[in-house]
């Protein structure tokens, strides 16, 4: 997993999966990297093949931790794979987070939301 600061945006990428085996580690690593001035968190899920309930809990927990730093912080989930997107929709998480899908030919550029 790679965590990069871009100004007031924290970007997390390289997650292969987000489940019981690594959700605590993910949550603690990202929490520890949260900057004092935070505008947005972007979590790239383009390589993530599996998310379970533990992973969902970690995302929600992270969202709340970020909101304590800045109430207006946006958490974006970038380019989720179809199975992961499906889980977000079934659990209504797409209403809680901003989900940014891949646009044609530009993997990192936000397309439709």
């Amino acid at each position: 997993m790679e965590i990069v600061h871009r100004g007031e945006t924290l970007r997390v990428s390289g997650l292969k999966e987000l489940g019981a085996a690594n959700c605590n580690w993910f949550r603690e690593e990202v929490r520890a990297a949260l900057p004092p001035k935070l505008h947005a968190i972007e979590i790239d899920l383009s390589e993530t093949s599996f998310v379970d309930s533990c992973g969902l809990g970690a995302l929600v927990s992270l969202h709340k931790a970020a909101a304590q730093i800045n109430g207006g912080v946006t958490v974006r989930l970038l380019n989720p794979t179809p199975p992961v997107q499906q889980i977000f929709e079934l659990t209504r998480m797409h209403r809680l987070f901003e989900i940014v899908k891949r646009s044609n030919g530009s993997p990192d550029e936000p397309g439709a939301t």
Binding site: S53, L56, G57, T91, R95
Partner: protein, 158 residues
């Protein structure tokens, strides 16, 4: 969603209904004998078993909430908790989630409500029973459990 709607989704006093000391109940320190006779033993759960026998609780479902706890569910994601019936054993228990009303517990409840089917119920029941008998959680992160959860979601969608 589950089709077991006649069963309860709320109780008046959730603390009495089940699990103030649920983690101790589901993970007894004394293997096998503890399953039946210790403070955490399953025989101590006869009131809940009775609720299952009366078909008010399911074997597998979400943890019970009282009305004030239910009122604290603030988003559609969290309110999914109420879309599944109360069960004797929950996904949160199978995952070893000790806190009754934490973010993780809410996520487990929503995930279960969204993807509940007999295969997921079976996986939860098997994990909880294994943990109760042997005192450890089995198969965490293994492909078998992942597949059962993943398949349950995909089947639900299909």
């Amino acid at each position: 969603m589950s089709d077991r709607s006649p069963r309860r989704t709320l109780v008046a006093r959730a603390e009495d209904a089940l699990w103030v000391s649920w983690p101790e109940r589901i993970w007894p320190r004394t293997p096998t004998l503890g399953l039946l006779f210790s403070d955490g033993g399953w025989l101590r759960r006869w009131p809940q078993l009775w609720q299952v026998a009366c078909d008010e609780f399911a074997w597998v479902g979400n943890r019970p909430l009282n009305p004030s706890q239910a009122a604290r569910l603030s988003s559609d994601f969290e309110r999914l908790w109420l879309a599944a019936p109360i069960g004797l054993i929950s996904l949160a228990d199978a995952e070893g989630c000790d806190e009754i009303f934490s973010d993780a517990a809410r996520a487990h409840a929503s995930f279960y409500a969204a993807g509940a089917n007999w295969r997921l119920d079976l996986a939860i029941l098997a994990r909880a029973l294994f943990a109760a008998v042997f005192g450890v959680r089995p198969w965490q992160g293994t492909e078998a459990v992942r597949a059962s959860f993943r398949d349950s979601i995909l089947e639900q969608d299909a």
